[in-house]
Symmetry: C3
Subunit: 474 residues, 3 copies
């Protein structure tokens, strides 16, 4: 028996009738605002080449770690989803038939009940593909055929979808060694105000990165600087930042294992650099070097105006057998408890009082919302709170974020919404969830006479549009 698929216009709004009406009215005032997507992981080649997307499985399943981690948790081998080993493998045959992959996903669709993945997917099915029955084993083929047919149509190209999705601006993320060829092409096409890059230097700042030494060699070749020396290394970084800014970047991004920062003297930094540069990397050295380089990045940001994003507290590739067989980003990156008050002290004591600097912090540890992040952002001029991130980019996650951040940090120390995704089709759905949940929260505050309606309308617009543009200097 097939069930109808229907996106209810009041979805995510509180059940109480009067609060729901308020939420709906607030939402209607922001629903049509353009999407600002200042932090994400879409592929710039899509926008540069404007080529069609491949098959339904490669569009919606294989690249989405939210989706395949959940299927894997239920015992579905990664190979059965068309994910090929990058390492030693397990010997199991890799599925190559997209329809078979799609059917497997459909059979397990109920394991996503109550998750944002299902909520986003249902939006894509209904809004992008016009499907009106729910996905299940019984409708898998109907879905596959409908999606495949729609994908072949002329207006299903990345740039057309950008327009259709009302995306005013999207930022991709590249590392300092990237030649930014796609962004150059985009710029040439006079499309550059729509797609910009972000400077993500982890692979040349983190001595624990597997390719650290080789990356520094390449950084030297690309810039003509002597990256065997600390001063040459800093100059090379500054030049790559300038190169990224020329390709639209207004921000850097830093994905460190912890929030630790350190403010070394020039001499100590040189000694440490020489040690890690030559491959003698002890764990404590790597941590200190990463922490020091965050402070260096802040110093450069104060010079060149780039907004600094810090995404700490993720244990990458926790599942060693999966990492060895399939590589990284296989759904086994896991949050860890994070200390911001201690960790960021060196950075904030050095640069946190600069109103001209903008540091946006994210967390996977929700306990830090009310205990650390809101108090920090409610004091330090340079600090702004990034939106609920990754596992917390969800209705309940957003609700907890507003409930735990607002009373100490207010709304105006926050940075609007980020989708942080490479699942391009889900971007409007994700922003829509954020708009709905923000309006639901504001409606509750109005219903409880903690805000006036006038305040709520202003804030709704600011959370949706203004704060993101301001925070990212767009």
């Amino acid at each position: 028996m097939t069930e109808p698929l229907h996106l209810h216009p009041d979805r995510l709004f509180p059940a109480d009738a009067s609060t729901r009406t308020l939420a709906r009215d607030l939402y209607e005032a922001v629903a049509a605002l353009p999407i600002i997507s200042p932090h994400g992981h879409t592929d710039p080649q899509w926008f540069a080449e404007d080529t069609p997307f491949p098959d339904p499985a490669a569009l919606l399943i294989t690249p989405d770690h939210y989706v395949f981690r959940m299927l894997y948790s239920q015992g579905v081998p990664l190979e059965d989803l068309g994910i090929a080993p990058k390492g030693e493998g397990t010997g199991r045959t890799v599925e190559t038939d997209p329809r078979a992959i799609w059917r497997r996903f459909a059979e397990h669709y109920h394991v996503f009940d109550g998750t944002p993945s299902q909520f986003w997917h249902d939006w894509v099915y209904a809004e992008v593909f016009g499907l009106d029955v729910r996905l299940s084993a019984g409708t898998a083929d109907l879905y596959f055929d409908a999606i495949q047919a729609r994908m072949a149509e002329a207006d299903f190209r990345p740039r057309a979808l950008m327009d259709r999705f009302n995306i005013e601006l999207i930022a991709t993320t590249e590392d300092p060694l990237d030649p930014l060829a796609h962004h150059a092409k985009i710029k040439q096409d006079a499309w550059n105000h729509r797609v910009i890059t972000t400077f993500r230097p982890d692979n040349v700042l983190d001595p624990d990165h597997p390719g650290f030494a080789a990356n520094l060699d390449r950084l030297g070749q690309v810039t003509g600087r002597d990256t065997g020396r600390y001063d040459g290394y800093l100059l090379a970084l500054e030049e790559r930042r300038a190169f990224f800014r020329a390709h639209g970047a207004t921000a850097t991004d830093h994905g460190h294992p912890t929030a630790f920062t350190a403010d070394l003297s020039r001499q100590d930094a040189e000694v440490l650099f020489n040690r890690v540069r030559n491959g003698r990397v002890r764990a404590a050295d790597a941590e200190t070097f990463r922490g020091h380089m965050l402070v260096e990045m802040a110093r450069m940001s104060l010079d060149d105006g780039m907004v600094m994003q810090i995404h700490p507290g993720c244990w990458r590739s926790h599942n060693a057998p999966v990492r060895d067989r399939f590589g990284s980003n296989m759904g086994d990156d896991l949050p860890v408890a994070t200390d911001f008050v201690g960790g960021l002290k060196a950075l904030l004591n050095r640069f946190g009082n600069e109103p001209g600097l903008k540091i946006i912090v994210f967390t996977l540890d929700e306990t830090t919302y009310s205990r650390e992040l809101a108090p920090l952002a409610g004091h330090y001029p340079a600090l702004t709170l990034g939106p609920p991130w990754w596992f917390h980019d969800s209705p309940e996650g957003m609700r907890r974020y507003r409930e735990q951040m607002t009373e100490t940090a207010g709304f105006y120390n926050t940075a609007g919404f980020n989708d942080d995704t490479r699942a391009f089709l889900s971007i409007p759905a994700r922003h829509d969830v954020a708009r709905r949940m923000d309006c639901a929260f504001l409606a509750r505050l109005v219903a409880e006479h903690r805000l006036t309606e006038t305040q709520a309308y202003r804030i709704a617009r600011d959370l949706t549009y203004t704060l993101a543009k301001k925070a990212y200097r767009l």
Copy 2:
């Protein structure tokens, strides 16, 4: 003035009228399903002998640490509740009159306002004893007499109550040295599919256990294996597991102070075993040995199919004077912050990718729900989330559990409900709370158009019945 006692049919459902109707409808579909109680601490002798329970105080107060810890926190000496010192005592006279104990409890009943203990007790008073006024100092004697009279009736025997409570299956918990005589009797009576045992080997895995060395000696005697050597010790454990399986066990249970696991080489394990076996137990050795033995237990589970339960993060007997005077389990076991992502890594890297293994984890540290446990269970095939445990087996605790687990782990990486109790009469009340809170949560998701009604009915049934049977291989 006495107040009426009334169990409202809509208790625990959300106040909003339309959501309440949805919750009630969902609840009505699962209210009559049989109780599966796969983890608990009832006494198998009750079911083997089917003898009457003793007096009201010994039935409802003395054995329930939820109850006497709260009275103790309000200044009521343990002796006044009939709890006799097991150690040196305080010299205070131990109350022996059950009616006096009951009166003391009744005088303090208001300190339980808003707690699950009061909610469960009220259910027992109304449903089991047919009382229709609330417990207070003024109604203490009326209660005592009514309960005492009812307890003497023929159908107030354990097996009759099992039927009346619609308990399809209940698991008790025994240690490896237990001869399981009661379970043998139950089996002989062809009642064994109703009452099964669980293998709880802490007292032979934990070098910090006071009787560790003596327990290993006895383990050797019971099995005829040489538990002076590591290989004999492992064989002895395997044999006791087989013995427990023959008495119905489908699961093991492990109550370790932390979630730490270690995967030692055979040689290192032998060296460590020899050290702790001979009583030279340093704190770090004990922790490593416990952690390593969890990995060994997983290895054995993969062989014999026993589901593995891990209950970490409890500081047992925090109150040293109380422990010295009264022994353990005196209401002074306290939760501590727990690291699952780091702690379970060795276990999960070794066996977490086995779809044939089932590990059910519990926590007393709710901060790990969204930060660690849901992300872990949403990736590792072997990992399943146990229900909200102990202090969190409560309406608000259950609500937080669903709100913080579901978006990342879904419903289908969870294991249904456990009552984890030795308070036999409260078992239906506890399951009823879980069913009501799950239906309340699902009703909210339907009201907010995050699930369809069809989905919600399926999930309600699965959370109530199917998932527990599947998780525990029943």
Copy 3:
């Protein structure tokens, strides 16, 4: 365009109509009860001298770190708010015109949207100053003039406001070296039952306190005891406690960086005292000494009956540049993760089983509510839970507190409400928020049939009035 300012009579009550009615009814039963303010930081001179308050900025902005930290976080220099450097300064001119300061605050008033500061301020504007339009850049002068005019009136004196605010009792906080001259004057005026002191000995217990050695010298002079020796030091502390009791104190207060306690032998304590007394303070020594002195304070409390308050887990003066330029209490005190179960063990094992001792604990780390504090308070007779503190003295903070504490600790292990403020005008607003949020919580429990109305009315009164008087022995 000016917006009307209106305090809705149903503010903070749940939106659901039937629950709201219940909340309103409960609130009406407690709204007129007198205010008990047993922990705060108002200036006793106000009540001793009964002199008028200065200008609007000095009344409402400059002394309120909740207010100026938020403005500072938005890039407003502290000097622009009239805050003068106490240290080296930045060279920026300090604003001396109260009207200019007030305008700056008014321009930024939207950054407080959704915060308790705005909620309290709006109450003060409407209730104390009779303003009926909202504060904004456009109404800044109107506000300034109205407030200034009202402040000059005869009945706007501290003692008159005490009566008008229906404050039955207020406690201030002084250190052991304070001569308590203002409290002596208050006593002389036979006003002492309204204003009492609190013994806050951090500056003579904490070896890390900048003036520790000099403070001990002065403690010796004041008492005539030899504070160069441990026994003389203890005697001096006991005498100052007695002096404080003679000035109304019923409680001590301890603001330690952590919850660590230690129970040293007399000999070890003497050796440690000699080390820290002579300025040889290592970090571990300071922590041990503070922890040991908490146990000594408990011992003295058992003798003299003073209630012991512990406020741990705050990193004072996190922003080193701000501390160096402006001093302490500049809005840069930050919460840190706190371990109560481990930290308080020594204290609780020594004295926690004494029903005659009362220890009230507070936390800035909300994760400890359900994990540590409720289980501790639900067992140890001596332990009582202080209200939600500082950053958590807010509607959402109060809701989380009740939701996370009540099921394990009940209502009767809690201590009512504290305002903990030096913002005198906001005291009624803060207590009003607490009463409303408690009634909202109770109304939900009644609506969900978890409490009867009879229970809820009793509890509402106890939370508002009775429990504070009992906890503080007033």
